[in-house]
Every structure is written in structure tokens, then in C-alpha cells.
């Protein structure tokens, strides 16, 4: 019980300052007013256009649906405004601003939300997301938090789902370059998965499976990883656990390695899904190891991870009484695209060993390294792991094979205890036997992977990446050029004035208004405002359209900034 209380008392670092808090609420309000204004305008526009098209029944239906959605949104916004005002009024009580409101949408802050809201005197229902607020009579408080977090984290995604860009049918729809999804090889995958060997049914596939994954699939995964991770010895299928996606693998690892309120170290910026997973089910905290973009003696490359930084973050966390159980590494890194050298990897692992930390290594982009001069080193390729019983590797087919809808994730660990504990969750994260068969066939087809799929995939990645980087260069936008992953980490700081996260959010909104979804640095816990991640693993036509919208927003923004500067100059 004691550590649970400790957890309640832990405000996150960025929330401690009262001044900062007020400032945040202020921006919340500003943001909402803005959004409210836009929504009302849109609503009015719909009303007027509706008159013009009344004869078209279909149009009518669409419009009334849109209108009711807008009305609902208006309701939400009003409600949030009231909440924020109330929370502002209660400022003296030392309360923190609401978690998932519009301002922090797509924002993830580690494990704090769910726990803090369970504090007895915390007015959750007032401060939580309005959608969730209405349901408090039916849901548990963690249920409310889960709903609210989901709602806030996937709002853009929901908008996108309703209004997707299509080159013929919906040219005005949203283009989503915020999601890291590999859409370059859907033709190849569709063709391969349609072949007759995929459609196979046998009794065993329809029966209760081995909850760790069917033996035939675990054997194939072991062979596959042995080959592509260049493992010195054959990997053991008994060390493989197969679940429905890497999020599930991480979620179960967090459950079995940490008790609630305990923590993992993670270098930031990082893929926000980890923060999401850490707090949804497992209530684990993430201690951020902040990396800097600026190059100094101690930081020879932008955002370089060093053992010093790891050590410092760990010791600071320990000073506050936090129990740190592990370190999360993503290699190739998301969103930076960094590929760790063998030596760096060794150092990080040695560091973890020194402090008895588990290391969870997410290698989900391991086959998505497209620069031939860069060599990816899987942690499994190391001759001798510093602490094999505390090293746990995650891989899946979502990115490397572009089949995120397949729901397949793998854990490889030498630690049988951990593997068994994770297997207890097999029931809750099982994959269909039929899908397991298809995956096995896919991973088995080395000929196709090596001769058809990977060469095509990588050359398409190269082309798309080349196109995107050229555009960015032409715009004079600094970015990291790392040769791996499906995305580019770029710096749009020069379009922010002042350089704050509020401005970053405003810029993000401008992209949204222009039907372009990017993901902003805040979502990755980047400590410097102005960074954005843009996905390039999509069709050339779509990229072209997206870059057009991107350019439009930035040039408008530039105009605004110039105007602002002129006004300032005049005033002086």
C-alpha cells in the first residue's frame, strides 16, 4: 500500500510550478475559444450550404449528420470551458489541470493520469473529459480515465477515420502523415496473402491453442529472428511468446516486471504508444531521459543517448524514491530514426546490468533500414548479452511488413520466468489460429522476402524519403536524416513565435485545418517545442498532395510572422 500512496503524491515534474499551471489553463482557454469559434463558423457554413442543396437527399443526410456532430462538439467545448474555469477557480487548492482536454490531445504523460484521479478528493468527474464525465455513474474511475485518455489520444485519428483522403473519391479529405503506417507495399502484401497456401484450415487451428502461440509459429519466428537478427546461435522457440501486437507484449511486460507506480526509464522523444500502454492497464510510470537537439561536447550528435544521461535520470528518480525496474529502448528509434551502433548498445546494456534494470528493446523497425550505409544491430546479434535474463526483445510485423491490421507481436526473452508470466495473458491477447498459419507462411517464405519484398520495400522507402527530404531542404527546414523508419523528425521551430508548446499546438491545428495530420513533438515528450514527425511511407501522389498542403500552411504562417514582426517594429 505504501508505494501506492507514494505514487499519488508524485506530481510530474512539468506540473509542479503553479505559475506554469496557470499559464497552461490560460492557453487551454485560448485554445478552446479558438476551436469554439471555428466550430461555430463551420456550423453556420453548413447551415447555409444546406439551403442550397436541399433537393439532394443524400447530401441532406450527410449534412444533418455533420451538423449534429458539430453540435455535439459545441456541447463538449462549452462543457470543457466551464470545467476549466472551475478548475481555474480552484487553483489555490493546488489541483492540477485536467488531463485529457482538448489542449493535451494526442498528448501522453506517462502513468500519472489514472492514478492521480483516484486521489479521494480529486474532482475527477469535473475535470475529466466531458464524454467520460457523463458516464461516471456507470464506469469505474479508471474506466473513465481509460475512456478519456483514449478519446484525447486518438481524436485526430477519429477525425481522419471519418474523412479520409482518397485520390478520386475524397480529394478534400484528411491526409494522415501523423500515423506511422507503412503503406508502400500493400500491393505486394495483398498479392502474397491472397496466394492459395494462405487459405488453410485444420482442426488444430480452430481449437484452443498453446497460449504462447502455436508451436509451428514460434518455431518459425525463432528461425526468422535468428536469420534477420544475425544471431550467433539458433534462437529457441521456447523463448518466444506470440501475442496480438507489440502493444500487448509491452503491456504484459509492464505488468509482470513492475508493480503499480514503479517505473521504466525511457529516452525522450519516444513513441507515445508506450506512455499510453504504460498507464492504461499496468499503471507503470515512465521516467524520461531527455535528449537535446543542440550539439555540444557532451552531446556530439543531436538527441544522442549517452550513459551519463541515463545514469543521471536514474539517480534523480531514485532520489525521489521512485523504484525504477527497467529501461526501454527503441531501435531503430521512433521518432528520431536513430540506429544504435553496436558499441552504444553494449554500453546501454552494461549500464542496465550495473543497476539491475530490465531492458525492453523494441526492434519493430528492424527491417525498415533503407540506407545501405547503415547497419542495424539487433540486440540478439550480440555475442554475449551482458544480462540475458533481463533483456527482452519485442518485434512485430506491423511496420516491417506494413500489416498493422494483422495484430501480431513477438516477445523473445531468455528468462523463462518472464516468458511464463507473460504467457498467462495469452488468453487475453491471443491470435486466431487462422492468422497464425498465415503469419507462419509469410515468415517462412524467405525467397519472397529476400528477393521480392525487402528489395522493393527498401527502394520505395528510399524514393519516398528522397522526395520528402528534398522538399524539406527546399523549404529550409532542418531535419534528422537517419536512413531508417517510416518518418522524418523535423524542426519547425522557426515557425513558432514564441517558441512554446502552445504555439506548437497552434501550428499543429493549422495543419489540421488544412486537412493534414502530422504528429507534434509534445506527443513524443520532446522537451523542445517545435519538432514534428512526418511519415513518408505512402504513395507518391499522396505525398505530393500532402507536401502541397504542408507548404501552404508554412507560407501562410511565414506571412503571419512577418506581419507580426512589422507590427512590433511599428509599435516600437
Amino acid at each position: 500500500m505504501s508505494h501506492r500512496l507514494g505514487m499519488f503524491r508524485m506530481p510530474s515534474a512539468q506540473m509542479r510550478g503553479q505559475g506554469l499551471r496557470n499559464q497552461r489553463i490560460h492557453t487551454h482557454l485560448m485554445e478552446m475559444m479558438l476551436h469554439l469559434k471555428q466550430t461555430i463558423e463551420k456550423n453556420l457554413m453548413h447551415l447555409t450550404t444546406r439551403h442550397l442543396q436541399q433537393d439532394l437527399v443524400l447530401e441532406e443526410q450527410r449534412h444533418s449528420q455533420a451538423a449534429s456532430e458539430q453540435e455535439a462538439l459545441l456541447g463538449h467545448l462549452m462543457y470543457q470551458l466551464v470545467n476549466l474555469l472551475q478548475s481555474g477557480a480552484m487553483g489555490g487548492l493546488g489541483l492540477q489541470p485536467s488531463c485529457p482536454s482538448l489542449d493535451v490531445r494526442r498528448d501522453v504523460r506517462g502513468g500519472q493520469w489514472a492514478q492521480s484521479s483516484r486521489q479521494p478528493d480529486w474532482p475527477v468527474h469535473q475535470l475529466s473529459d466531458p464524454e467520460a464525465t457523463f458516464v461516471s455513474q456507470h464506469l469505474s474511475s479508471r474506466g473513465i480515465d481509460i475512456s478519456a485518455l483514449y478519446h484525447s489520444s486518438f481524436q485526430d485519428y477519429k477525425i481522419y477515420q471519418r474523412d479520409k483522403y482518397h485520390e478520386d473519391k475524397n480529394t478534400m479529405g484528411f491526409i494522415n502523415l501523423g500515423l506511422s503506417e507503412n503503406k508502400l507495399c500493400l500491393d505486394l502484401m495483398t498479392e502474397r496473402l491472397s496466394q492459395s497456401d494462405m487459405n488453410y484450415i485444420e482442426d488444430a487451428l480452430l481449437q484452443y491453442p498453446d497460449w504462447r502461440g502455436q508451436p509451428f509459429l514460434r518455431e518459425e519466428v525463432a528461425r526468422f529472428l535468428t536469420y534477420y537478427c544475425k544471431v550467433p546461435d539458433q534462437l529457441d522457440p521456447e523463448n518466444v511468446v506470440v501475442l496480438n501486437g507489440c502493444s500487448s507484449v509491452f503491456s504484459t511486460l509492464a505488468m509482470v516486471l513492475c508493480d503499480p507506480g514503479e517505473a521504466f526509464l525511457i529516452p525522450a522523444p519516444f513513441y507515445g504508444g508506450f506512455a499510453f500502454s504504460a498507464c492504461l492497464y499496468s499503471k507503470v510510470e515512465l521516467i524520461l531521459v531527455h535528449l537535446d537537439s543542440e550539439v555540444t561536447d557532451a552531446n556530439p550528435h543531436p538527441f544522442q543517448l549517452t550513459v551519463d544521461k541515463l545514469e543521471q535520470a536514474l539517480l534523480e528518480a531514485r532520489l525521489t524514491g521512485k523504484k525504477v525496474r527497467g529501461l526501454i529502448l527503441i531501435n531503430p528509434q521512433n521518432p528520431l530514426g536513430d540506429v544504435y551502433s553496436r558499441d552504444s548498445l553494449q554500453e546501454y546494456l552494461e549500464f542496465a546490468k550495473r543497476y539491475h534494470l530490465h531492458v525492453i528493446i523494441d526492434e519493430i523497425y528492424m527491417l525498415s533500414v533503407f540506407d545501405e550505409f547503415i547497419t542495424f544491430h539487433s540486440v540478439l546479434s550480440m555475442e554475449s548479452l551482458p544480462d540475458p535474463n533481463r533483456t527482452h526483445v519485442i518485434w512485430g510485423t506491423s511496420k516491417d511488413f506494413g500489416i498493422s491490421g494483422f495484430r501480431f507481436g513477438v516477445l523473445y526473452t531468455h528468462n523463462r520466468e518472464v516468458a511464463s508470466a507473460v504467457s498467462s495473458f495469452g488468453y487475453l491477447h491471443g491470435i486466431s489460429g487462422i492468422a497464425q498459419h498465415k503469419l507462419c507462411r509469410l515468415l517462412q517464405d524467405r525467397e519472397w522476402i529476400d528477393k521480392v519484398y525487402l528489395p522493393t520495400y527498401r527502394s520505395r522507402l528510399q524514393i519516398a524519403h528522397g522526395y520528402m527530404t528534398k522538399k524539406l531542404e527546399a523549404l529550409g527546414i532542418p531535419f534528422l536524416n537517419r536512413g531508417s523508419g517510416l518518418y522524418i523528425w523535423m524542426n519547425l521551430k522557426m515557425y513558432l513565435d514564441p517558441c512554446t508548446f502552445e504555439e506548437e499546438l497552434l501550428l499543429h491545428r493549422r495543419f489540421l485545418d488544412n486537412k493534414l495530420i502530422l504528429s507534434r513533438g509534445r506527443t513524443y515528450m520532446c522537451k523542445e517545442p517545435g519538432w514534428f514527425r512526418i511519415t513518408f511511407a505512402d504513395k507518391p501522389l499522396l505525398l505530393k498532395q500532402a507536401m502541397h498542403r504542408f507548404y501552404q500552411v508554412l507560407s501562410e504562417r511565414k506571412q503571419d510572422l512577418i506581419m507580426k514582426q512589422l507590427e512590433n517594429a511599428q509599435r516600437e
Binding site: 500500500m1 467520460a132 456507470h138 464506469l139 469505474s140 474511475s141 479508471r142 474506466g143 481509460i146 475512456s147 483514449y150 500515423l179 500493400l186 502484401m189 495483398t190 496473402l193 491472397s194 492459395s196 487459405n199 488453410y200 484450415i201 485444420e202 482442426d203 488444430a204 487451428l205 480452430l206 484452443y208 491453442p209 498453446d210 496480438n244 502493444s247 500487448s248 505488468m255 509482470v256 516486471l257 508493480d259 503499480p260 499510453f276 492504461l280 492497464y281 530490465h358 498493422s404 491490421g405 494483422f406 495484430r407 501480431f408 518472464v418 511464463s420 508470466a421 498467462s424 495473458f425 488468453y427 487475453l428 491477447h429 491471443g430 491470435i431 486466431s432 489460429g433 487462422i434 492468422a435
Partner: protein, 511 residues
């Protein structure tokens, strides 16, 4: 003669719901220990040796968290029976003296029909949207199909709505998600016992939610009209007791048709239970996973979705899956139907962890859409085969003079072997279970279902004739104290043909 196994034995179950987790009130090993010492009579019998999570939790494990150790215990204890079985699985040709599984509730009678249907060309369809990130509630085309399917087979008064449907990878996940979004850690659901024991694990692993048993009796007394009858009085009493003990109960789990009893609730009974829940503001989770496996027409099954005017629609959540009714437990497809949008949204928020492959979603939609095949081929054939298998096993039991319960639904018979226990203890029950296993037949014992009376066993009959026959032969051997007699497959074959002669309508190759 059998002696007590020297080595520790573990929970005898193929459904990993260890008996002890009633006692788990929190994620913490120390809390558990306290709970156990406070209520000594709740403590696990020592013969369930490995079944004590505290032992594992407090053991020197440098790699797992304390909750991780408890979680691991679920795996280890569940595996024991299963592992023994898997190491020595019966196979007609390769391992005729292997273990016959009459413990796992799986329908193995219709693989021929299912394989044929699932191999048809319409099933092999791949399109990009199926390969990409889905709507986490399930693809719309599938939710629409599920709504139509349930409207039809549950006989709902009005068409069900796709937006009230959430699709995930099995009912286990659904229990887990519902427990998490409806309860805080340490809160509880009421559940009439005996019940399908795996639910204990499902609600506990992530949710930290416990189950409070509403114990039912085999003896018919008072107002009861049948053994193990669930009544509102019993529900009230269990709820009061829980309140008295300071356990916060948030909901009630009903399984209809019931597992392991095979009971079917009448519309009147259902309504009574729902009214009870409404009075106490309890959520009701109705698990209807056997709804199409009612093979006696006279049984008269009613889905909760068929009721006109649910007492508390916002707190009524229905679960269904293809695992049982379509004999595809390996397919991992389950669905929630709830009018409560907030519950649906909250569950969907967790679906990121419980999603199923887009290609499989497509196949399920195709399957559920094929009403001709379901109504004219699959269901009649499945029911006939279930009935034949049931008739055979029931006949065998009658011949042995063994009392049993069965209402013409589900895959199992709830068998009363109390007279075979020298003493009415769970220790003796376990010994008998082990004698069955030693004689190469796996059953599930009552303890695994939280039955409060020792001596009940669940016997699964939904298997092919030759396996059933051999299984029953081995059961008989144990009960007649002749279990070390080597198996004689030849005699089984003659029995089988004998049965075919008597069971007129039995389709060839089934019984």
C-alpha cells in the same frame, strides 16, 4: 490401489481458474497473505500444493514484480493438467494409449463442416484496409453483421445496432476489459457457483477484480424446483454477506446456458435476476456463449436480448463468441453488445490490446452472413451430433447408476461422483481426478468451478465417437476400481457399433 502422489499436485483443470483466487483482494502478495490467514477456511487445501500463489509470490524471484509472480502462478498451475495431457495426447494411430480429453469444453464434432466452409473461396479475400490499423471497436462491416446476426438468433424485439457492438479477440478479453472499466482494483462481481473457473483469471489478471460466489446446492429444498437452482434470495444473501465483509460488489455475472450445469434460465427467472441487479444498481454481464448449442428443442432458450423492456438496459451487457457455438475456440472472436455507449467506448479504448486480425474479421463477417449454411447445414447437423453424443454418454452414466444434471444445452454433463469419495472432501475429489488422469482420461473436477460440494465432475461429450467411447470406458474402469486393466480398443469398437445400432438417427462417423 492408488496412493497419494508424493509430489505436489496442482489445480486439476483445463480451465485455468485456480480455486484460490477468491482470496486475491489486491495485486499484492502481502495483502493476499493477510487475507488467507484471516480466513483460514478459505485457504487452499494443502493438496492443491502448487496452487498457493503466496508461496510463489513470496519466493525469491529477482526478475518479476510481486503481481508478476502471482500472474505467473496462474500459468504454472493451469498448465499442470494441460501439460500432462499435451505430453501424452491421445491419437488414434500414433498414441492410442494417450490421454483422452473430456475436460476442455470444446466442440470437436463439426470440424469437417467448418473446414469446408472456411476453405471456400469467399473466405480468401485480402484488401488493403484489412491490413491496416482498424477501427478498434471492430471493422464496421463486421459490427453490422454481428448486429444482424444477434438480432435474428437472439430474437430481439427491435433490430440491434452496430454502434452498440464491440468486437474483440474472445470473451476472455471481454471479461478482462469489462472488469477494468466497471470496477476499481479489489472490487467484485457476484457469480453463481459452480461456474466456468477461467473467469477468475480473466477478471483478475489486469483488472484486479475478484469474484464473490453465490453458492448453489445440489439438494432441492424450500422453494427450489431443481438442483443448483439460482434464486433471488441466494443472490440477496451473497450480496449482503459481501457488503458485510466490506467487499464492494459492482456487478453480477450470469452464464446462460450455464457452464458447467447446462442450466437454461427461463424468461421469468432472467427477469427476476435482472430486477435484483437493478435494485442494487449492479451491472449484469450475461455470457451467452452457448446460446446456439441448445440441442434439445424442448429446452426453450431465451436470450436476454429477446426480453421486451430490459429492467436496466444501461447496466446490461451481453457477451457472445464463436468459440462454442461454432466450435472455433482457436479463432479468438468475441463480441459485446451493450446499449451503454460509455461502457462500449471504454471497452473499445482497451481494444488496442485485444484486437483481432482484419482478415479474420472479414472471414467472420462472411460466416455470420451465410444464414443458409448456418440454418440448413451447420446448426441442424451440429445439434444432431451433439444430441447423439449426449445420448450416448448419458446412457453410459445411467448404466453405471451415476446421477447427473443436463438440460440439453452445452457440451458437458455435470456428474455426481460423490458416492465414489470415501470422505466428502476436496482432497478425495482431487485423488479421484488424479485416478482418472492416471487412467488416461482428463476430466474437470468441481473444485475448479468453485462448487462447494466435493465430488462433482464436468464431463465433456462433444467429441468424436471413438474417443468418447474410449473415454467412457476409462471412466468406468476407474469407478469400478479396475483402472489398471490395459485399454482394449477392440472392445470399444464393438461398443461403438452397438451404440450405432441403438441410436437410430446417429449420423455415420459420429457415433
Amino acid at each position: 490401489m492408488f496412493t497419494l502422489p508424493q509430489k505436489e499436485s496442482k489445480a486439476p483443470t483445463t480451465c485455468p481458474g485456480p480455486a484460490s483466487t477468491q482470496d486475491l483482494d489486491s495485486n499484492h502478495g502481502d495483502g493476499l497473505e493477510r487475507e488467507c490467514s484471516r480466513k483460514p477456511d478459505w485457504k487452499l487445501p494443502e493438496f492443491c500444493g502448487g496452487g498457493d500463489p503466496t508461496a510463489t509470490a513470496s519466493s525469491d524471484s529477482s526478475h518479476l514484480s510481486s503481481r508478476g509472480s502471482i500472474i505467473k502462478w496462474f500459468w504454472d498451475s493451469a498448465e499442470e493438467g494441460y501439460r500432462t495431457y499435451h505430453m501424452d495426447e491421445y491419437d488414434e494411430d500414433k498414441n492410442p494409449s494417450g490421454i483422452i480429453n473430456m475436460g476442455t469444453s470444446e466442440n470437436k464434432l463439426c470440424f469437417d463442416l467448418l473446414s469446408r466452409r472456411l476453405s471456400q473461396s469467399d473466405m480468401l479475400w485480402v484488401e488493403p484496409s484489412l491490413l491496416q490499423y482498424p477501427d478498434w471497436r471492430g471493422h464496421l462491416f463486421l459490427r453490422e453483421e454481428v448486429a444482424r446476426f444477434l438480432s435474428f438468433y437472439c430474437k430481439s424485439p427491435a433490430p440491434l445496432k452496430p454502434e452498440n457492438v464491440v468486437v474483440l479477440n474472445g470473451c476472455a478479453s471481454l471479461f478482462s476489459a469489462l472488469a477494468t472499466v466497471l470496477c476499481e482494483v479489489g472490487e467484485a462481481f457476484l457469480i453463481p457457483a459452480p461456474y466456468y473457473g477461467a473467469i477468475t483469471q480473466h477478471v483478475y489478471l489486469y483488472g484486479g477484480v475478484r469474484l464473490v460466489c453465490v453458492y448453489l446446492d445440489s439438494e432441492v429444498t424450500g422453494l427450489d424446483t431443481r438442483p443448483f437452482q439460482l434464486t433471488v434470495e441466494k443472490l440477496e444473501m451473497a450480496l449482503q454477506r459481501a457488503n458485510f465483509e466490506g467487499v464492494k460488489v459492482k456487478g453480477l455475472i450470469l452464464i446462460n446456458p450455464q457452464n458447467p450445469l447446462g442450466d437454461i434460465y427461463s424468461p421469468g427467472e432472467l427477469r427476476d435476476y435482472l430486477e435484483f441487479a437493478k435494485r442494487h444498481k449492479l451491472h449484469v454481464m450475461v455470457d451467452e456463449v452457448y446460446m446456439l448449442s441448445v440441442f434439445e428443442k424442448s429446452a426453450g432458450y431465451h436470450s436476454v436480448l429477446s426480453l421486451e423492456g430490459l429492467p436496466d438496459p444501461q447496466r446490461t451487457h451481453v457477451m457472445w463468441a464463436t468459440s462454442k457455438d461454432f466450435g472455433m475456440s482457436g479463432l479468438r472472436f468475441g463480441t459485446l453488445y451493450t446499449e451503454n455507449r460509455d461502457v462500449a467506448t471504454a471497452v473499445a479504448s482497451l481494444c488496442r490490446y485485444h484486437g483481432l486480425s482484419g482478415l479474420v474479421q472479414y472471414q467472420m463477417a462472411q460466416l455470420l452472413r451465410d444464414r443458409d449454411w448456418i440454418n440448413q447445414v451447420y446448426l441442424p447437423e451440429n445439434h444432431a451430433r451433439l444430441k447423439a453424443a449426449h445420448t450416448y454418454v448419458a446412457g453410459e452414466l445411467r448404466a453405471l447408476g451415476i446421477p447427473f444434471l443436463s438440460s440439453g444445452a452445452g457440451f458437458f454433463i455435470w456428474v455426481d461422483l460423490r458416492k465414489y469419495l470415501p470422505e466428502a472432501t476436496f482432497k478425495e475429489e482431487m485423488l479421484l481426478w488424479r485416478r482418472f488422469l492416471d487412467n488416461k482420461v482428463l476430466l474437470s473436477c468441481g473444485k475448479a468451478f468453485q462448487c462447494k460440494e466435493p465430488g462433482w465432475f464436468r464431463l465433456v461429450f462433444s467429441d468424436k465417437a471413438h474417443r468418447l467411447c474410449l473415454g467412457m470406458q476409462r471412466v468406468r474402469q476407474v469407478l469400478e476400481g479396475k483402472s489398471q486393466v490395459p485399454d482394449d480398443p477392440a472392445s470399444c469398437q464393438s461398443q461403438e457399433s452397438g451404440n450405432q445400432r441403438t441410436g437410430g438417427e446417429t449420423p455415420p462417423g459420429v457415433l
